[in-house]
Structures are given as C-alpha cells and as structure tokens.
Subunit: 339 residues, 2 copies
C-alpha cells in the first residue's frame, strides 16, 4: 500500500506543500519586532515540527481548487493554534524539550511563554478573519469550525490531565479522551479547505475521517514516546513519567493479563511524581508494554484506524482517484513516521 521509497519519507504532495508553509512561517515570524514577544515567537516557530497540518491543508485546498490565499491564511491559523496548544501542553506537562529544542517556557520563562501564546492565538484568529474576509460566503463557517475545534481539543486535554495515574483506566476511557482531544483537531484544516472549495457536502464525512486518523496519529505518538526519536532531549517514556493515560496503559490494565504484582507496580510507577520516577522504572514499564501485548495492540490499532479513515475519505462525494492515492500516502506516512 506504500507509495515507493521509504514509507517514512513524507510523500510527494507533502514535500511539495512543505516549503510554502516554511516560507509563510519565515516571512511571518520575521515581520515582528515586539519586546517580550518576538524572541519567544521566533523560538517557537523556528524549532521545526513536521508542519503536517498546514501542509496537508494546502495540498487539499489546491487539489480541490479553493482560493489559495484564503487557504494559506487558514493553514497559518491551524499552525499557530497548534503552537499555542503545544506551548500550553509543555507547561502543563513540565516538558523541557520538544523537537530536540528547549520548550518555550524553559527558554523564556512561563510569564513570557504565556504572552507569546496569547499573541499567537490572537494572530491565529486574525488569519481566520483574513480568510473569512476574502471568502465571505463561508466566513462564518470558518470562524465556527475553528472555534469549535479549539474548544473541543481543550475539553479533551482537560480529560487527559484529569485521568493521570488513574488505577482503573480503561480502553473505553482512552477512546473518549482521544476522540475529544484529537478527533476534530487533525481534520480542522481539511474542513477549512472544504468550506473554501465549496464542498460543504463533504464536511461531515471529513470529520468522520478525522475521528479515525486523529486517534491513529495520537496512538502513534504514544508508541513513539517509548523510543528516543521524539525529540525530548533523549528522554524516553515521558508519558510514563507524567502518568499520562495512554492507550498502552489502558490496554495493559484491561487486557494485559498482568500478575497482581506487575499491575500494582505499573500503577505505582504511573502515579509517581515525574521527578521521582527513575529510568529503571520507566524501562520496566516499556518492557512490560512489549511483553503484555500493548505495543502490538497499539500498532495494529493505529493501522486499523488509518485504513478506516482512508476508506471513508475515498467515499467522499466526487472524490477522484489521484486524491485518494495522495491522501492514502499522507495518512500512511503519519502512522509509519518515526519522529
């Protein structure tokens, strides 16, 4: 099902959109000279990242023939929102590294990081407004879509925080969190592109695609957390240290067939304060996730959901086969990536 070369390289359509996104972001971040904001903004926006959301949005918008200027604005809005939520996530989780760089709150302090976040959020809405003004017939839809997704993602994040170290965490609870937190978030740009291309009829189906691929993406993230590839300054198992309610944790408790001693130890390590959890404990949990079948389950589950999402995408009204092939390539890249 892969589209040649290594399945871990971004597919052609993303490689094509990516430089446009980088150019937009470079131009954007260098346009500011604001004390207390510019330095943090540049740090945040130039520390890389896959630019998956805006690239995917630009490709779809182009493929569907949407107004390219509005699509660029909306794509920028999705990338800025993403960065705001990353800034807040890193503060909430106490994460010190992301993408191999210091997180913003470590670089400039929590105070300045909050201001940069607020600024970027105002800017995200400015871009939504620009897109809306250029495409007034769908202006309200763009605003409402953006706001609904922002809100739902925050509700999911709150659920996630609230179930840290839950000793009775289930796969059903995981599903509820991951749907809230990621179900609409990845699809935000696609839906924006659909509105801009006059494809209102496809919007509900696109949300359904997102409800499969968003969680698949998150599950892949849960799995990558067990490896050194996540850009966390070499630290592995951050989710374990933070007691995050991951798919792996839910599977182990519910279907891992653990001995009573292993179950107690897993729960105890998950519940420990981050700073008190040592590397040997983290490694013990990682080994347990492998031996009890949680990793295998996670890999199968992320692939299953990617396939389900792709199939739903191929059912979109008047979807052509070129688009389907490209969408499949991106979705596979998302779930096969190693970073």
């Amino acid at each position: 099902m892969m589209t040649g070369a290594s399945s871990y390289d971004p597919p052609e359509v993303l490689r094509h959109a990516h430089p446009r996104v980088e150019e937009m972001l470079d131009k954007y971040q260098s346009s500011w000279d604001l004390p207390g904001i510019s330095r943090g903004l540049t740090h945040q926006l130039t520390t890389g990242g896959k630019r998956l959301r805006p690239s995917w949005t630009l490709w779809l918008a182009e493929h569907w023939g949407a107004n390219s200027s509005s699509a660029e604005d909306f794509a920028m809005a999705t990338e800025l929102l993403h960065n705001v939520l990353l800034i807040h996530d890193d503060i909430e989780d106490g994460d010190r590294y992301r993408r191999g760089q210091k997180t913003l709150w470590v670089e400039v302090g929590i105070e300045e990081a909050l201001n940069v976040g607020d600024f970027l959020l105002a800017e995200a809405y400015r871009f939504v407004g620009q897109a809306a003004r250029q495409s007034p017939s769908v202006g309200y839809s763009l605003h409402e879509t953006f706001t609904t997704v922002f809100r739902q993602t925050v509700v999911g994040q709150a659920l996630d925080l609230g179930q840290r170290a839950d000793p009775h965490f289930t796969l059903r609870q995981y599903e509820s969190i991951v749907r809230q937190k990621t179900g609409k978030y990845l699809a935000l740009g696609w839906v924006g592109a659909a509105h801009l291309a006059g494809r209102e009829a496809d919007v509900d189906a696109l949300w359904a695609v997102g409800e499969e691929i968003g969680p698949a993406f998150q599950i892949r993230d849960d799995l990558l957390d067990l490896t050194p590839g996540k850009g966390r300054g070499g630290e592995i198992g951050c989710d374990i240290r933070e007691g995050k309610p991951s798919l792996l944790y839910a599977y182990s408790l519910e279907r891992g067939d653990l001995t009573s001693a292993d179950r107690q130890r897993l729960i105890a390590i998950q519940a420990k304060e981050r700073a008190a959890t040592d590397d040997a404990e983290v490694q013990w949990v990682i080994d347990l996730y492998h031996t009890c079948g949680a990793v295998e389950f996670g890999e199968a589950e992320s692939r299953r959901r990617i396939e389900a999402g792709i199939e739903q995408f191929e059912l979109l009204s008047s979807q052509d086969s070129d688009g389907g092939v490209a969408f499949r390539a991106i979705a596979n890249y998302v779930v096969e990536r190693k970073v």
Copy 2:
C-alpha cells in the same frame, strides 16, 4: 459633576445593567459539566468583579438601540476575554488573591487554570461568532475589533512584564505601556455596541475616548494598590513587590526630586524578588510616593484623563445629552471607586 448620592456607588445605568450581566453569567457557568473545566470556570466567574465592561457595553447598546441579543453576546465575549487575561496575569505575577478570593491557579493549579483559560477564550470567540451571525452586516467588524484589541492588550502586557524594575523608567515609557495595555481594552465593548447600532462613524472617536479613560482606569488601579481595598487578601503594594512599572514609580524617578539615597533604595526595592520584599520596605515606598508628590500627580492625572475622555464622548456624532450625563457618571465612578 457627580450624579448625587455617594460618587462611589455605581451610577443608575450600571446598576440597571449589572443584574442582566450576572444573570447571563450565572446561566452560562451553570450550563457546563466538563471534567477539569467546570469547577475552575465556576470559581473564576463567580468570584465577583465589577462586571464593568459588559454592563457598560449593554447600557450603550441599549441607549443606541442596537440588537440586544447580539449586544449580550458581544458583552459576554468581553467579560470572558477579561477573565482569560486575569487568569494569565495572576499566573504571570504570582498573585495569590484577587477580589478577596484565591486566584484560579492557586485554587486548581496552573495546569487546570491554563485549560480553563483556553476554554474561556474559545467560548469568547463563540460568542463573537454568535453576535456576528445575528448581525451579519457587521460580523467581520466585530471579529476584527475583538481580535485587534486582544492582540494589542497582550503586546502591552508583554511591555509591562519586560520593564519590571527598570531603574530608568520614565513617564513616557509608562504612557506607551498603558496605551497599549488599556487604550483599546476598555473601549472594546463600546466599539462593539457602536458597530451593532450602525454607528460606524463614531468608532474612531470611541477609540480616542478609550485612550483617555482606559489609562485613567489603570492609574486608579495603581493608586488602589497602595490601599487594602483591592481584594488581595489584605496585602498592599503588590505592584511594588512585583516591581511593576507603575505611574507612581515613573513619576518618583523622573519628577520626585529624590535624594540619591532614596532613589537607590526605591530602585533596589522595586528590583527585589517578590518573596524577598518585606512589609516595611513596601510601606517605605508608599510613604515616598506620598511625600514626593507621585500620589497627588496620579490622582490629578486620572481625573484629567477622565475629563478629557468625557469631553470627547460628548462630541460623538448626534450624541444626546442624556447619554452624555450617564457616560459621565460611569466614567467618574470608574475613577473615584475605592475597590
């Protein structure tokens, strides 16, 4: 110039609008049952506050005959944005009490406080969207106004944070910060009401009114910080403890005719870490602000700007005398208030 009774009681027009605002907020905050959000949201929205922004907005909207449902939505948006910025301010400043209650980050932790803030911001934009949908001819203006003011206020806050404990702080620098931080912020609801009432011609003049009354309001806040009335759990001089670049600090350095020893001591206390600043030092600075004329200057300056703002309001196109009298009463209340 006062409108009877004690000048510290809210004027009739605010007393009339205030219960509507409280009712909207009660109905709003009780409509949620979201884990990790509702409790903090209720704490934040039920700890009082003067509700000045939404009440002032509702009165003006009614006075000008704007669509009342849209005006209520926009007024809600201003109040929610205000609460988001208070949540972030309190984290940034390390403030533990506001309005006589624990600040949100103290009550629920920084993690949950950030989520509540994000949720309220999404909600603020949802209300902007609702107002825009009901009044589509000015929908884009409402969105742009809200976003521009949000952004400018954050830029001002960043300047404020960046000039903490500046030993060469000037009145000119204070003016630059206070204009960015408060110049448009207080006028946001008025301008929204003007758009909704079809008074586009008044918008520029309303911003000019805000550029006088917003700073007057902030200067009053700087003065109230020297007294126990600010609801900070009895603590006075928080701005001094935090090294905030206040009008009083700028005046003392620039025009206070301080001895070299007093100047050095003032700068040193301003520069000290919050926790290291003791009550005797704070009292010494407060006494200095009184003896060197800073307090007197601040009081005169806030009154001067209130008068300038009122005069500009009375020049609005087709402004009637009833509206002018009521606006004057509110503005005087704002600057004469003791809490």
